[in-house]
Amino acid sequence: MIRTIIQISLLRLWHNKAELLLTFIVPILFFSIFAWIFGSRGSGGSTPKLKVVACDEIDSPVTQRTLALLQNTKSLRFHLGEQSNSDFVKPVSRESAEALVRRGMVTAAIVFRSKPSEDSDTTSSKDLNAHIPNTSESGGSKSPAIEVFADSFDQVASQVIVAFVQKASMAAQAEHAQEEAVKLQAARQAASQQVQGAQSVAIPGINDPTVRAIALSSQPTLSLEAGNLATIAVPTIEVIDVLGTNKSNPIVAMYAAGIAVMFLLFSATTASGAILEERENSTLERLLCSRMTMDHLLMGKWCYLVIIGCLQTTLMFSAGAIFFGLNLLGHLEGFAVMTLVTSGAAASFALMMAAMCKTRTQLGWVSTILILSMSALGGSMVPRYLMSESIQRVGQFTFNAWALDGYNKIFWRELPVKELTLELGVLVTCAFVFMVVARVFATRWDRG
């Protein structure tokens, strides 16, 4: 009996290709996708480069050397400045640097501060979580005071950048000190020659050659060592979180959008499956026998999906506001625009998927694979800054990435709606293209 049940079940599985795919192929597919995203294969092992911008208010040989060393660091990519058309790092002003971080153009700004003082602005906006304490004020240090304007959206980047800056600064100081030492050595040699000449004439009292040798060698050496100790010091680096400081719960702002967009896609696709059900039980035939046309039907479905999508996203963000202190009321305008456009694009995507599939089962597994892949690549599951550059570029082709960028601009960067032009443009275009594709595929349900 048990054997018969197993046989029947195996035969049923063999005949049900969708179940067969879900059981054996889809797990491998997903494993491959995630391995591709987070593993080194397919990306050539390229680690993500951190975009930074420099502001050098000191403009000293040490700071210039530090910048040059940082530019040679493989993991950093310098923003070249608006007027620069070469690889040469053109430092920008402090305000521009901060603005670039706020707009998300760069991950961090490295500022060589001209006044290493208790600047009320910087001290007040220190983010305790991200702050690296001043490591030294080693007596009489000449090391530059450095600020890192960080975007805590990328929670790892600021710490990495601080480490690089520290290393580069110390190396620059050492190189500078070495140069100074060489100069001193040259000066010492010149001085010793002069002293030797003068002593042989003017210090006749020291005739003992041993005593003379000590007198000649000891003074310059001592001054060189003192010079070295005074020059190389661990730099003072302050990390200033320019975006996350005023947010009661900065992490929620990031993840609410990611999860909302992923579930928006899932719910829209599930709901759009109703059209396949209607086709299967001839309700679609009956609907199209009435005054209704296929255009009416698709538009009706689209409007419904948009309404549901807006409600779903609003509920999600409202829960974030109530339970996690997300500042929804402060960004209502941007939220409304982004939610409407994102829901519209999700609805179009869902209808396109439904129109392309033959059965609801097929829609179920195809959309699951596609949405999970898009969510993984687009940053709904894991922040995109953790992915390699090549994967981040691939992510730009996903629906999620643009929606998340839009929400991040509103809730994280607190940018006005006009700054969303690119994201809104892409999403509106997606919505339109998806709808056109859906309409083209739906012609098979139209008059035969």
């Binding site: 001839s282 009956r286 009435s290 008059r447 035969g448």
Partner: protein, 340 residues
């Protein structure tokens, strides 16, 4: 009414169909010369192919207002294609389909047409009333009219007490009734039903046909496809049989029988003993494994037949009188059972 009888791979009809075709054509042409005929439904030389398959091969059909027409044919004969074409859901390659003189694809014409698909094309997760209101709105009803029509439909299908129940909880027969009601809310002048009684019990079938009779009594033209030949015979006043994409028979049941297998009753006899001589009109049917004889006047001819058998040494142990019906006509014309 035009009467057509054709049979490609079966013996020729017992009576020549040409005079009857000629008569019907004459009747039609004389009618058109007097007045512009406005048939409820008119199909002229309708062709449709799917790849190399000719689903419809020049269908000609006219249906008068108020008629109840049964569309029969074996599987793959082209019934569903024809029904879809009539409903405007299928583009035809050639010919024309008109509803009250207007092309069926005309949106304004579609409001005069009601469609009841074979599947239960209702929303099972809506209540009866919600379904009716939804389909009423789709057919352009609103406000008070919609409310009145929904109330009427609930009464008509006998589900007033279940109006707020989800239709997924209903029996097959009840769902069928809701399915039909959704197609007639807007009071269509022509109602097309694809297998309206498939999969329901005899009581529900009876109830459904009562509902259709009621509509027909109010002048609605009804075109239905069915696999229940007895229903078609007893409930419809016109039968159209199609096979291989063509109309092969069209007429009333009496006409069909008369022009195909004839009106003679068949007497089937089980005889014991050996017949010493052949009896005129009595033949052995190897399929039935019975003796059969065809008679026109049972009261006169049957006693004579029984007497002759007795005289020839036979003893009748069982006797069955078979009256020609639509099933016989169907088998005669198509050479197949309906479900083959």
């Amino acid at each position: 009414m035009k009467t057509i009888f054709t049979r490609k791979d079966a013996p020729l009809p017992r009576q020549d169909s040409a005079p009857s075709q000629l008569a019907s054509l004459t009747r039609e042409s004389s009618r058109s010369s007097i007045e512009q005929p406005e048939f409820a439904l008119e199909l002229r030389d309708v062709h449709r192919t799917f790849g190399k398959t000719h689903a419809l091969r020049g269908i000609n059909l006219t249906v008068d207002s108020g008629q109840k027409l049964a569309l029969l044919g074996p599987n793959g004969a082209g019934k569903t294609t024809l029904v879809r074409a009539i409903c405007g859901r299928l583009r035809i390659d050639q010919g024309e389909i008109k509803l009250f003189g207007q092309p069926v694809t005309n949106p304004s014409t579609l409001t005069r047409l009601g469609v009841v698909p074979q599947d239960l094309a209702i929303y099972s997760d809506l209540t009866t009333k919600e379904n009716l209101r939804a389909f009423g709105r789709l057919h352009g009803l609103s406000g008070r009219t919609l409310t009145e029509r929904v109330e009427w439909a609930l009464e008509w299908i006998g589900l007033e007490d279940r109006k707020d129940h989800l239709t997924k909880s209903f029996s097959g027969g009840m769902k069928r009734r809701v399915n039909i009601a959704c197609g007639v809310l807007h009071r269509p002048q022509v109602l097309v039903l694809d297998e309206p009684t498939v999969g329901v019990d005899p009581q529900s079938r009876h109830r459904i046909f009562e509902m259709l009779d009621e509509l027909s009594a109010h002048g609605t033209t009804i075109i239905l496809t069915t696999h229940h030949l007895d229903e078609a015979q007893s409930r419809c006043d016109r039968i159209v049989i199609i096979d291989d994409g063509q109309v092969i028979a069209d007429g009333g049941i009496a006409e069909l029988i008369e022009h195909t297998i004839g009106c003679e009753r068949q007497v089937r006899l089980r005889i014991e003993g050996f017949l010493t001589a052949s009896i005129p009109n009595l033949e052995w049917d190897p399929t039935l494994e019975l003796f059969v004889a065809e008679i026109n006047e049972p009261a006169e001819e049957l006693p004579q037949l029984l007497h002759r058998i007795r005289v020839c040494g036979g003893s009748v142990i069982d006797l069955e009188m078979h009256q020609p019906n639509l099933h016989d006509v169907f088998i005669y014309l198509t050479g197949r059972e309906l479900r083959e």
